[in-house]
């Protein structure tokens, strides 16, 4: 792709590519905006920027990741996602074939999720001004009456549920980046979770207090956020946290802790204790929640510590990290 010269031809080329990949009635009308009807209820909206290196990783690429991530951010409110918009910042010289592959996987991801990408924009910037490709997405959805999930709603005694094994996405990306694929290949868990959310909401209703997708910073960051917003602590059982053997092995090699590693197809739910079993059963009955687990509970703690019981009756603090895991042992 080139920047500046031949702007018009290039713009047509790109928009043709996206129209074809996303193909839906709204884009086909070629307006600068799309109009749509809304059902009764409360709308939710989210926006997110995607930068990932490498752009293609086992189990997906930046495009499918952007669609899934945005759908999941909408879904974590308990909502049904409806529409997305996407904006692309493309570095000059970015291979057209890569862009096409990414657009196609975005279209496929949206289609299989039953969500439409109805607005978009592209900009090609000079070499060095972007790292290949950045995608910004916005999503809107609609949430049923009476459902009001929020990170400040956890209560002491609530259970902590996760929908499946942790660390798959981060390890997939990292092993690609560090080229340690000589380990058993780990595939990103990138997936849209709204259908799983729907069965959970059906089973738990307003007993589901908080849902979050533990993306950047992993489970540790997510639970620390909830602890701070809800002003309580969490106690987890390390042994009950699901981690795939290949993920555990790669984490061991790289010196990472799976609870700090990003996920793109998992959720954490904080559920009222009396409904936790029902919600967990509903999750396990859904293909995306087959490995769901109850990993701990919310406890009263004015210091808002997230603690994890380790093998021998020890308990350690599960921190959120500033960036990547920096060595700390002196």
């Amino acid at each position: 792709l080139s920047h500046g010269s031949g702007g018009r031809a290039m713009a047509q080329l790109i928009s043709g590519l996206f129209h074809q990949a996303f193909g839906n009635e709204w884009l086909a009308r070629c307006n600068d905006q799309s109009a749509f009807d809304v059902a009764a209820g409360r709308m939710v909206m989210t926006t997110d920027g995607y930068v990932v290196s490498p752009l293609f990783f086992p189990g997906g690429n930046i495009g499918s990741l952007a669609v899934h991530g945005t759908i999941n951010d909408v879904a974590m409110s308990g909502a049904r996602p409806l529409y997305l918009s996407a904006s692309f910042i493309i570095e000059e010289g970015f291979p057209f074939s890569d862009l096409k592959a990414i657009a196609d996987s975005m279209g496929a991801a949206a289609r299989s999720a039953g969500v439409y990408i109805i607005a978009g924009d592209t900009k090609v910037v000079e070499r060095g001004k972007a790292d290949g490709l950045f995608i910004s997405t916005t999503g809107i959805g609609i949430v049923a009456d009476g459902l009001d999930l929020s990170a400040d709603k956890a209560r002491v005694g609530d259970r902590v549920l996760v929908s499946g094994s942790l660390g798959d996405h981060g390890v997939a990306v990292m092993s690609k980046r560090q080229n340690v694929a000589f380990q058993t290949e780990v595939v990103s868990d990138s997936v849209a979770l709204h259908n799983l959310v729907a069965v959970m909401v059906a089973a738990g209703g307003s007993g589901i207090r908080v849902m979050r997708d533990p993306t950047r910073g992993g489970l540790a960051a997510t639970l620390n956020e909830i602890a701070h917003q809800s002003e309580l602590g969490f106690r987890l059982q390390e042994a009950s946290i699901p981690v795939k053997p290949a993920v555990a092995a790669t984490c061991e090699l790289l010196g990472l802790d799976p609870i700090h590693v990003a996920n793109e197809g998992k959720l954490v739910a904080i559920v009222a204790p009396d409904l936790a079993d029902a919600v967990l059963a509903a999750m396990k009955a859904h293909p995306l929640g087959a490995d769901a687990a109850d990993i701990g509970e919310a406890v009263a703690d004015n210091r808002k510590f997230v603690q994890m019981a380790t093998g021998f009756g020890g308990r350690r603090i599960v921190d959120w990290l500033w960036a990547e895991q920096l060595p700390r042992i002196c």
């Binding site: 560090q178 010196g255 350690r316």
Partner: protein, 751 residues
Amino acid sequence: MSAPTTCDRTRLRVRVSGAVQGVGFRPYVYGLAMRYGLAGFVINGPEGVTIEVEGHRASEFVATLPLEAPPLARIDHICVRETAALAAKDFSIGSSEGGKLSTQIVADAAACQQCLRELFDPENRHYLYPFISCCHCGPRYTIAERLPYDRRNTVMGAFRLCAACAAEYADPASRRFHAEAIACPTCGPRLSHGISAIVAAIAGGQIVAIKGLGGYQLLCDARNQDAVQRLRRRKQRLQKPFAVMVDSIERVSDIAEANAPELALLESVARPIVLLSSRNNLAAAIAPGLSRVGVMLPVAPLHHLILHALRSAGACARTGPVIVATSANRCGEPLLIDNAQALRRLKGISDLIVTHDRDIVTRADDSVVSVVADRPQFIRRARGYVPEPIRLAKSVPPVLAVGGALKSTVTITRDNQAFVSQHIGDLDTAEGIRTFEETIRHLTSSLDVEPLAIAHDLHPDMASTRFAEANGRALVAVQHHHAHAAAVIAEHGHTGPALALVLDGHGLGSEGGNWGGELLLCEGTRCRRIGHLAPLQMPGGDRAAREPWRMASAVLHELGRGNEIGRRFAAQRQAGCVSALLEQPGGATTTSAGRLFDATAALLGIASLQSYEGEAAMKLEALVRRTAILESGWTIAGAVLSLRPLFARLIADDIDAVGGAGLFHGTFAAACVDWVTRSARTTGVNTVVLSGGCFLNAALADEIPRGCSAAGLTPLLPRRVPPNDGGLSLGQAWIAALQIAQQSSARGGTA
């Protein structure tokens, strides 16, 4: 001073500052005044003790005053002034002067000889009473709730003195005059179990928890391998050495070799654990793979009673009792001090839990010290030493420094003193962080200062850094190794430039990166990195610190011998993958010195994994019989020191572990001396600060300073705080305080 001419009676006003309250100083002054036939008074005041003496032998009094001071007193300053004679007739002890009282509490002290005589005297009313104490001994810091240090402000306030104790408390001629912790069987605290039950349990191979001076301790028979191993299993402490307690100084030589300074240290009122060369005749599980053993003498009367009864029981008639004495906590958590918590949390660990009703306000672990070049060096500074301040080169603004993440301490500066807290422990448990915050609160309020700034490590993910950031005060981030160096500069009162050789495990560099073997040029608040060890890959970050075989793999890879990794470390699941990881460009590297010890230990087959910090290095050190220097075993290029030739030699087939250990230590020390000497020549700076956790290594701590001195340099070693991360907070505090002082004088200058 000139004698007054108007009158043959001299009246002098003497002000004494230092640790002079709560240590029997006023009765001492009273006795001295009697000896010289003087009239006048002594009184406690905000700055210390004020004395007025009148009589013609008043100057003799003043001359003797500092010479015979009570054992726990520390005189910082004596100021003498003449005042008009009033022809007073008697000498009186006044109660405290009004206003603010001195905020100095002294450290806890081991039972004194006089109390011990009473303890074992059937005629004495304190016979076999585990809480006997006097002005010269007993708890202080650990039982003080607030200031001033008066009985009502300690946990002893809950116990009403009986008539006999009250009389001693009020008698200026008594050893217990205003001894705030005094007690007797009639009026004082009680033990939950009889000594005979404790002794029977220990003799029977059981594990007993007792409440010591600064916290709960676990005891068992140190000659009973079964008992020691059971303790290891229950405490989940697989390899880390246990300290032992022997009943008397005469018995130390049964189990270890001790020279004169080591014996003196063992017998000092602080009663630390002293690391001694072991005779290896205790249970092997006491200090697996190590050549040194931590030994201590009985501290509290309770220890004396237990050891005395063990000896009388005859269980160890021939050899005298030796017991394991280790802090009662789960690995890495703070020492337990609360009865209810102890009963709950020690249930699965000890067979018998002995409590008593004298509360502990401030926990203090046993201090651990070793003798390096004939002088003490701390490994852990706590009971018996805190809250003794460290004198600074000048008065500075009050700051709080919060240390690192492991072996945490905090420091507060006040005027020209730095108060370094007791060892707090690791900050990776909720209990650890709570204790850390509690210590800060207690220290701040007992010193009655409002810190202007908080100094912290550069590392963003330490609990101490988080605390600092959430606190709202001005922040001063101090690079880890700069803080290590500054701690030594601060305690020595060194001003002017200094080279600093910091040999350490890990610290975040000032521009990121993993540092740990650094040559710094420090002056005032500034610090420049002028050299470092050659970077080595650290496959797996912190994991490489726990698994020495990974660092060994990095060395092999570096030497082009990566193909040997799989064979040498076949037992390691990841051995095959690590070599591939090492092939990748752009992996994390470190200039750590500590990791070189790890690598060497693994290459020599001494330790591939470690279960506690420094295990591999300590086991490597334990094998050193004689150090040797490999000539041209190192290179220095652009102030980067590389030990590549040494490693090439260490992996040769004809080197055994003992030979390799000697060669590594000798060559590394020689290389450091060469490195420092060259830098001293180019910079013209001849003072060399030696700091960082690797200086706990006896061979290094002995040979590097010796080499520096031989080269005409002045080496400065950490003596008042540990060289490891326990000393960080002092260094941070000193840098931050200087920085705040500079800023305010700069503001003052432009205003």
